[in-house]
C-alpha cells in the first residue's frame, strides 16, 4: 500500500543521477534565493541544495496521481469573494500601526535610497 511505503522512508536521491534528472543544483538554488531575497552563505546554500532535493523527491509523488480532467482547487470551501458597498469604512490608524516600525519619518517608512 502506497501510504505504508510513504511512512517507511522518503525516497533517497538517485545515486547515479544524471545532472538533468536532479531537480535542483547550486545555480538553481542561487536563483531561488535571489527571487526570495534571502541572503545565503556558501555552507547554507550547499546544505539547502541537498535538503530541497530530498523535499522535491517527496513531492514528486504527486506526479503519480491521475489528474486528467481535474481542475485545480485553490480553496477547500467553495467561496466567492464577498462584495460590499463602495464606502470608506477604515479609519486612519497609521501612527498607531507605525509604532513598531524600524524607521519612520513624517508617516513614511525610511529605506536606503532606491532611485539613483
Amino acid at each position: 500500500m502506497i501510504l505504508s511505503a510513504t511512512l517507511r522512508a522518503a525516497p533517497a536521491p538517485l545515486s547515479n543521477a544524471e545532472p538533468d534528472t536532479m531537480h535542483i543544483d547550486a545555480a538553481a538554488l542561487s536563483h531561488l534565493a535571489e527571487l526570495a531575497r534571502i541572503g545565503l552563505d556558501d555552507g547554507e546554500a550547499q546544505q539547502l541544495v541537498a535538503e530541497l532535493e530530498a523535499i522535491l523527491a517527496l513531492v514528486d509523488r504527486i506526479q503519480e496521481v491521475d489528474v486528467e480532467g481535474v481542475e485545480p482547487l485553490a480553496h477547500p470551501i467553495d467561496l466567492a469573494q464577498r462584495l460590499r458597498p463602495d464606502r470608506v469604512t477604515e479609519t486612519d490608524l497609521r501612527d498607531h500601526y507605525q509604532e513598531g516600525a524600524p524607521a519612520v519619518e513624517d508617516g513614511l517608512f525610511l529605506v536606503p535610497r532606491v532611485v539613483e
Binding site: A36, E44, L56, R61, I62, V67, Y97, G100
Partner: protein, 483 residues
C-alpha cells in the same frame, strides 16, 4: 482544595464560588514561573492577567459572568494580542508588539477568559516537533527527553503540564492535532472558514485554521464556542450557523456510521493500531456502526501539501522585508541588502527551506508541474472525502504514525519530520474538521486517534469524542500519575 485543571472544571468551580479567578490565575502564573525548562511560553502577561482576573471576579460578583469568565487561558504566539509581544516564534518578530487583538482573542475576551500569556511554537507555524522556535525548544511533559509535537508545541505542553487548563493553537497540516496526540490532549482543527483568521499571522492562507486544545471534549467545546463564527474582516470566513458545542458533547451517537480506511492502517505501529482498535470497540459499544471506507489519493496528500503550503508561505512571508515591521539588519548598503540580510538574519532554517521550496514550485517553468498539479491533487482528495461522507458520518484514523519521538531525532532530516503529518494533512487539504483525542498509551507516552467529519460537522465529532471519553479515562491521566 486543588485547582480544577480543566476548562469546564475551572468554569464550574468559579461559578460555584469554590475559588476566585485571582486564585486560579495566580496559581497558573506560579506554575509557569516554576518550570522555565519546559519552554511552553514565549511571554507571560502577569500584571495584566491579574488585573483581568480581579475584574473578572468583580463582574461575577455583580452577576455578570459569561461561560469562561475568569478562566486562565493562553494562546499560541501566532495570534496578535494588543500591547503584547507577538513573535511567531521568530527572531523576525522577536520585539514586535501587536497593535490589535486577533479575532479569536476578542472572542475569548468576550467570553470572559483571562489571557495569561503567549505559548511557544515552531517558527511561523512551520514544524512538527517544537524544536524550531527562536526562543528554544519545548519539552513534552510526559517525557522531557521527547518532543511535544508542533507547531502548537507550547499550547499542548502548557495544558499537559497543568500550567493553564486550555489553549488555542493553529493547524495548517496537523499542528493542533499532532501535539494534542503527543501530549495526551483533545485538540480540534475546525472546518476551514469556521474560525476567523483575522489577526492570526498567516502561514498558508488556504490551509490555516485556529482551534482549541484541552484535556477533554467539553473543554475543547467551550473554547470553540468562544471563537467560532462569521467575521467580515476575514474574506474566507463562512456564514454558517454556530452549533451549541458544549451541548453536542453529550449528544447521543447511536446509529452513527464511522468509516475506517483500512488501507491506511497497514503496517502501523502496534500501539497506535491498538489505540484505534479501542476507539472502534468503545464506539461500537455505544451503538456506532464502524465500517470500512475507501479514501483514494490521500497518500498523495503529503506531497501536495509540501508544494502548496510552502508556496503560500513564500508569498505570505514576503511581507517580512525589514521595511515596515520586524527585524531590520544593521547599516543596509542598499535596498536589496536590506531585504537579503534582514530576511537571512530574521528567519530560521526551516522557514528558509519552506520559502525556497515554495519559490521553486511557483517559479516559471515549474508552476504547472508543481503548484497547479498539487492543486489538482487537492481537488481529488477533497472529492475522495466527499464520496466517503456520502457513506459514513465520520472517519476514524490514527493521528500520528508513532508516539512522541526523542528530541533531536528528526532535526537533521526534514523529510522524516514532514512524514509525521501523513494522517493529519488530508483534512487541511479538504478543509474538513479533524479532532484528535487521547486513545491510549505506549508505556508512559500518550497516543491519539483522529476523527474526521464533513464540513461544519464539529458538533458530531464532539459527540463521538464525548461518548468515548465517558467510557474511558485516557483524557483524565496526567504526567507523573502513579499508574
Amino acid at each position: 482544595m486543588s485547582a480544577p485543571d480543566t476548562v469546564a472544571g475551572a468554569a464550574a468551580a468559579l461559578a460555584a464560588g469554590e475559588c476566585s479567578s485571582v486564585e486560579l490565575v495566580r496559581r497558573s502564573l506560579e506554575a509557569i514561573e516554576a518550570d522555565p525548562m519546559l519552554g511552553a511560553f514565549v511571554s507571560v502577561r502577569a500584571d495584566a492577567a491579574l488585573a483581568e482576573a480581579e475584574a473578572a471576579d468583580a463582574r461575577r460578583a455583580a452577576g455578570d459572568a459569561g461561560p469562561l469568565t475568569g478562566v486562565p487561558i493562553a494562546v499560541k504566539d501566532l495570534f496578535c494580542a494588543r500591547g503584547t509581544r507577538t513573535t511567531a516564534g521568530s527572531r523576525m518578530l522577536a520585539d514586535w508588539v501587536a497593535p490589535y487583538d486577533a479575532a479569536v482573542v476578542e472572542g475569548l475576551r468576550a467570553a470572559g477568559a483571562v489571557l495569561v500569556g503567549k505559548t511557544n511554537l515552531d517558527e511561523f507555524a512551520m514544524g512538527s516537533s517544537g524544536e524550531n522556535s527562536h526562543f528554544g525548544p519545548t519539552l513534552n511533559p510526559w517525557d522531557r527527553t521527547r518532543v511535544p509535537g508542533g507547531s502548537s508545541s507550547g499550547s499542548a505542553a502548557a495544558v499537559a503540564a497543568g500550567l493553564v487548563p486550555g489553549t488555542l493553537g493553529t493547524d495548517t497540516g496537523g499542528s493542533i492535532r499532532q501535539p494534542a496526540a503527543f501530549c495526551g490532549l483533545t485538540g480540534l482543527k475546525p472546518t476551514y472558514g469556521r474560525v476567523s483568521r483575522w489577526g492570526m499571522i498567516a502561514f498558508a492562507s488556504s490551509l490555516d485554521q485556529a482551534g482549541p486544545l484541552g484535556h477533554g471534549a467539553e473543554d475543547v467545546a467551550l473554547l470553540l464556542q468562544a471563537i467560532a463564527g462569521f467575521d467580515e474582516r476575514d474574506s474566507t470566513s463562512v456564514e454558517a450557523p454556530v452549533d451549541d458545542y458544549p451541548a453536542a458533547c453529550g449528544a447521543p451517537v447511536e446509529g452513527l456510521r464511522v468509516g475506517i480506511p483500512e488501507a491506511l492502517l497497514e503496517q502501523l505501529d502496534p500501539a497506535v493500531a491498538g489505540a484505534v482498535a479501542e476507539v472502534r470497540a468503545v464506539l461500537e459499544d455505544a451503538g456506532v456502526r464502524c465500517v470500512p471506507v475507501r479514501l483514494d489519493h490521500v497518500e498523495a496528500g503529503v506531497g501536495a501539501y509540501y508544494v502548496l503550503a510552502p508556496a503560500e508561505a513564500s508569498t505570505n512571508l514576503s511581507r517580512f522585508d525589514g521595511v515596515r515591521f520586524g527585524h531590520r539588519c544593521a547599516d543596509p548598503a542598499s535596498i536589496d541588502d536590506l531585504y537579503r540580510r534582514s530576511r537571512a538574519e530574521g528567519f530560521g532554517a526551516e522557514v528558509k527551506r519552506r520559502i525556497l521550496t515554495g519559490t521553486y514550485a511557483l517559479s516559471a517553468g515549474y508552476h504547472d508541474a508543481y503548484y497547479r498539479r498539487a492543486q489538482r491533487v487537492r481537488r481529488r482528495i477533497r472529492d475522495a472525502f466527499a464520496a466517503a461522507f456520502a457513506e459514513v458520518d465520520a472517519i476514524l484514523t490514527p493521528t500520528t504514525p508513532t508516539p512522541a519521538f526523542p528530541l533531536g531525532e528528526k532535526t537533521d532530516d526534514p523529510v522524516a519530520m514532514y512524514l509525521q503529518d501523513v494522517f493529519t494533512i488530508p483534512a487541511n487539504l479538504a478543509g474538513i474538521p479533524g479532532l484528535s483525542l487521547p486513545a491510549g498509551f505506549a508505556g508512559a507516552l500518550p497516543i491519539g486517534a483522529q476523527l474526521l467529519g464533513p464540513h461544519f460537522a464539529e458538533a458530531r465529532l464532539l459527540a463521538l469524542a464525548g461518548a468515548f471519553q465517558r467510557a474511558t479515562d485516557h483524557h483524565r491521566r496526567r504526567p507523573g500519575d502513579a499508574s
